[in-house]
Amino acid sequence: MTDIPNAPAQSDASRDLSFFKSLTKSLQNNWRKIVILIPFVWLLLFFLFPFFIVAKISVAELAIASPPFTKLIEWTDTGIMNIRIVFDNFIYILTDSLYFDTYVNSLRISVLSTLLCLLFGYPIAYGIVRSGPVMKPLLLFAVILPFWTSFLLRVYAWMGLLADQGTINNLLISLGIIDEPIRMLYTEFAVFVGIVYTYMPFMILPLYANMEKLDTSLNEAAADLGSRPTNTFFKVTLPLTIPGIVAGSLLVFIPATGEYVIPDLLGGGNVQMIGRVLFNEFSRNTDWPVAAAVAIVLLFLLVVPILVFQYYQGKEAEER
């Protein structure tokens, strides 16, 4: 990187000074490389590399040791490298009906929640875009504000609303609409409510950003040509907001599939989602290779949506 002049006659002080000078100089010359390298190395080390370790453990066997799995690479006495790869964990996961059903269930719940977010989020985002210059920033602020408050506490708030003795049941009973409390907490319904509630801002914000850029003269042109508002919406506005719909849907769908907190707190033991299975498997410290394989399969399921999301992000960044 740098060559430090190292003449023996130099005093320590001047050597330090010349070292400092050459350091500054090399910083100025190589700063581009340094700017790239620092975050690049960080992400390689703490983001990409850990996935390889998970992949490695997923093809190991359970062992009574700490950590509880067999080593993938072992050096035998004769100096031969011995690689053991076992696909039993994957075969186990994909043939075991419990795991298989849990994957299917997670995908079903997250797809439906994403559609619900879109159904409610779209008109909200459109409503904000159509608001006046004073109301617009205020409404946007009102949508973003809950996002800044704790996710965990927003889920907790729904525990109080949906419980058997909770606010909704108490209200309905006191109004005489029902006699017995309706069971809502620890059901799939509660999980849907929780996901829609906490992920809604992730749907609204990309939609808003997309709609804000729309050219309103197109709507005027359609109206001038005699198109009814509903017709204009489906033929002009909706097709133009597809990028926002895709971005928002992926921002909800991908994390919701692996969600742990919501199925745990609002679904109790009654709603099986893969994130919860994975977390519990690991925290009980039982079978790490199987847990690692569960994670790899989940990642595999989500790889296509993640790549689509990256593609859209990149395209949007270039368009700006």
């Binding site: 910083l27 620092i38 370790i53 998970v54 704790s150 109080g160 419980a163 977390f279 994670a295 990256q310």
Partner: protein
């Protein structure tokens, strides 16, 4: 906008806002409930705030979470800004696609996967080089920096592309070296984006339960870990009190920051108008 908001959109907006805020409002109201059972009203009282202020483990967790959030926000802002500069200002370089991918993936990666992979990484690292000797503050902070820097990078990237390169090119034409342009022009102009990135990273860290639960060690309880372990078994009136305090603090901070940014925005607009008039 030319078109007026239709009645349907207005109704949806009102319902949406009610849906967002009623649960939080009820959470706050029930924190002043005297009764031990959260949903059974037993009259107004500050009983649970007293219980809360007398429990040292809550305050230890708050202190740990704030320390992690502060260090995380500072490092994530620096790393994320460097990453954004590399992506927006440096054109093509080797590994740019991989770099961009790794920068976007943490935005959507399920937390259980990130948490699990970092845990096995730290354990393997400890086996090989003996570090980290124990999991807690350091491991949680590293994990948080890794996902927070992605959010910082997105924010700073948007600002970098938005502000254009005119001033930077002008400085370069006047003889400023690229490094000087970066420190004298680019970074100062990024300041508002850096502030909001720092706050975002701070909040993300304070909010994280899943990743912290994976990479923490015995005894290191962050605030979300403590809250989660208590509410897992049901409703707790003291958690309502804690939630109320958190909601009030967050709302206050966000409102202050929003006000400052709004004023800054107005001043920028005014400057622009004056400059246009001068021309």
């Amino acid at each position: 906008m030319y078109h007026k908001r239709s009645r349907f959109l207005t109704i949806m907006l009102c319902l949406g806002l009610a849906f967002f805020y009623i649960p939080l409002l009820l959470l706050v109201i029930y924190s002043f409930n005297h009764s031990k059972l959260v949903p059974v009203w037993g009259g107004w009282s500050l009983r649970w705030y007293k219980v809360l202020f007398e429990s040292p483990d809550v305050w230890n967790a708050v202190a740990l979470s704030l320390r992690i959030a502060f260090v995380n926000a500072t490092f994530a802002t620096m790393l994320g800004t460097l990453a954004a500069l590399a992506m927006v200002r440096f054109g093509r370089f080797k590994g740019r696609t991989l770099f961009g991918g790794m920068l976007v993936a943490p935005l959507v990666m399920p937390e259980v996967i990130t948490g699990l992979s970092l845990l096995v990484f730290f354990i393997s690292l400890q086996e090989v080089i003996g570090w980290p000797a124990e999991r807690g503050f350091t491991t949680i902070t590293i994990a948080h920096i890794t996902f927070s820097m992605a959010f910082v990078a997105v924010t700073v990237q948007a600002r970098l592309t938005g502000m254009g390169q005119d001033l930077e090119e002008a400085a370069a034409d006047l003889g400023a070296k690229p490094f000087k342009v970066l420190t004298a022009i680019t970074i100062p102009r990024l300041a508002p984006a850096l502030v909001s990135s720092w706050l975002l990273a701070f909040t993300l860290s304070l909010d994280d339960l899943v990743i912290a639960s994976f990479v923490t060690g015995p005894g290191a309880n962050t605030l979300p870990i403590l809250i989660f372990s208590r509410i897992r078994l049901g409703l707790r009136p003291d958690i309502n009190a804690l939630a109320t305090i958190i909601i009030l603090v967050v709302a206050l901070c966000v409102a202050i920051v929003a006000l400052i940014m709004y004023r800054q925005h107005k001043r920028d607009l005014l400057d622009q108008q004056l400059a246009e008039r001068a021309e």
